[in-house]
C-alpha cells in the first residue's frame, strides 16, 4: 500500500453525497472556472486534482454491486503530507470547500480546518500503487524549471552566432550572474 512516490503523495477520498443533491453538485463543479482561475490553483502544492461524481458501479459481475448513493471522488497529486494539505484547502478555498462538501453526509464544515482535514482523511482510501514520473519535483520546481527553459531558449535564439565575449556579457545580464 503506497500513497507515496518520492516527495509526492496521492490523495483519494470518497464522500457519500446526500440523497437528491448530486445534480446540483455536478452543475456547481462543472461551472467552476478552469485552469489558473480554478479554485485549486490557490493550493500551490497541487500538481493535478479532480472532482468526479461516481454515480454507478460496473455491471460486469453476475451479481454487481449497486451504489446506495452517489459518491464525490476527490483525488489530488500533491507535494508533502496530506494532513497539512487538507488544512490548507480549508483555509484557501473556504467558500468552495463549504459549497462542494456540504453536499456530502457528515460534513463538519470547512471553518475548522483541522476538523475538515480529519473528516476527509477518514474518507481517504489508501493507494495500492502510485506512479510518479518526476517524484522529487514539487510544483514549484516544475514551474521554475519550465521558466528557466523558456529563458534559456530565448537567450539561445537571441545570441546565436554572436562572439564569445558578447555572449558572456549578455548571459551575465540575462541570468543575473
Amino acid at each position: 500500500m503506497s500513497d507515496r512516490s518520492g516527495q509526492a503523495r496521492a490523495l483519494t477520498s470518497f464522500t457519500p453525497i446526500v440523497s437528491g443533491r448530486a445534480g446540483e453538485l455536478r452543475a456547481y463543479l462543472r461551472g467552476l472556472p478552469r485552469g489558473p482561475a480554478s479554485p485549486l490553483a490557490r493550493l500551490l502544492r497541487t500538481h493535478f486534482a479532480r472532482w468526479v461524481i461516481i454515480d454507478r458501479l460496473p455491471t460486469d459481475p453476475p451479481d454487481p454491486d449497486r451504489l446506495e448513493q452517489p459518491y464525490l471522488l476527490f483525488t489530488s497529486c500533491i507535494d508533502g503530507e496530506a494532513d497539512s494539505y487538507l488544512r490548507e484547502l480549508a483555509e484557501q478555498l473556504p467558500g468552495e470547500a463549504e459549497t462542494i462538501w456540504s453536499h456530502c453526509r457528515g460534513f463538519p464544515g470547512a471553518r475548522d480546518a483541522g476538523a475538515f482535514a480529519r473528516w476527509l482523511l477518514d474518507h481517504h482510501v489508501p493507494t495500492s500503487f502510485f506512479v510518479a514520473n518526476y517524484p522529487k519535483a514539487t510544483v514549484h520546481d516544475v514551474r521554475q524549471s519550465l521558466a528557466a527553459h523558456e529563458q534559456l531558449l530565448r537567450f539561445a535564439l537571441d545570441t546565436q552566432g554572436l562572439d564569445a565575449p558578447t555572449r558572456l556579457e549578455r548571459f551575465r545580464t540575462a541570468f543575473r550572474v
Binding site: 485552469g35 479532480r50 474518507h123 564569445a164
Partner: protein, 182 residues
C-alpha cells in the same frame, strides 16, 4: 466553461473503475506490492513518457457502504489524446495491461485495441472538475526542463569567474547536451 472536461491544455484525465474477480484480489495485491521494485516492469512505461502521475487502488468498501466485490480504481494524469494513450498501452505494453486488468470482470484483453478501448470507455467517468498546475507542459517537457535547470544553475554559478572562451565552451556543452529538450 467549454471544452472536454477530461482535458486541460496538454493534460488529460482518466478515471476508471472495474470489479475484480475474487481470486484476482490477492494476486493484484502482490503485484502492487512488488511492482515499484521491478524496474524492468516500469521501464517501458517510462519510455512511453506520457504519464505524469497514475495510481491504482483496490477498493474494498466505500464509507457508508459495503461492497460485495473488490473494485480496482485507476486514475491517470497523462498527455496526448485518449486514443493515443490506449493504443500505446495495447500495442506497446499489452502484458502490463493484462497483468493488471486480467482479473477484472468483462476485460476483453489488451489486443486487439478496439474492444479494449470500448471497455475503458464503458468503465470511465468524466471529471466534473479537472485541474493541472502546468497544463501546457508535457511529461517530456518537464523532465527536460528539470535536467536543464540543474545544469543551467551550475553554469550560472561558474560564470562570474570564467573567461569568455571557457564560458563559450561550457555554454556550447550545455546546449549540445540539452538540444533535444530546448
Amino acid at each position: 466553461m467549454a471544452g472536454d472536461p477530461n482535458k486541460l491544455g496538454r493534460a488529460s484525465a482518466l478515471t476508471v473503475l472495474s470489479a475484480v474477480k475474487p481470486r484476482g484480489v490477492p494476486l493484484l495485491r502482490l503485484l502492487f506490492f512488488v511492482g515499484p521494485h521491478l524496474s524492468p516492469l516500469l521501464k517501458p512505461l517510462q519510455r512511453l513518457s506520457f504519464i505524469h502521475f497514475a495510481r491504482w487502488t483496490l477498493v474494498r468498501g466505500l464509507p457508508g457502504q459495503d461492497l460485495r466485490h473488490v473494485h480496482l480504481f485507476f486514475e491517470s494524469n497523462f498527455n496526448g489524446t485518449w486514443s493515443q494513450y490506449i493504443d500505446a498501452f495495447s500495442y506497446v505494453v499489452p502484458k502490463h495491461i493484462s497483468g493488471i486488468w486480467r482479473w477484472s470482470y468483462g476485460f476483453p484483453g489488451p489486443l486487439p485495441a478496439g474492444p479494449f478501448k470500448a471497455y475503458i470507455a464503458e468503465h470511465e467517468y468524466e471529471a466534473d472538475h479537472f485541474y493541472s498546475a502546468y497544463p501546457e507542459a508535457s511529461v517530456t517537457m518537464i523532465l527536460g526542463a528539470l535536467e536543464l535547470r540543474r545544469d543551467l544553475d551550475r553554469l550560472r554559478a561558474r560564470a562570474p569567474s570564467m573567461s569568455a572562451e571557457a564560458f563559450d565552451d561550457a555554454y556550447r556543452d550545455l546546449l549540445t547536451a540539452h538540444q533535444n529538450h530546448l
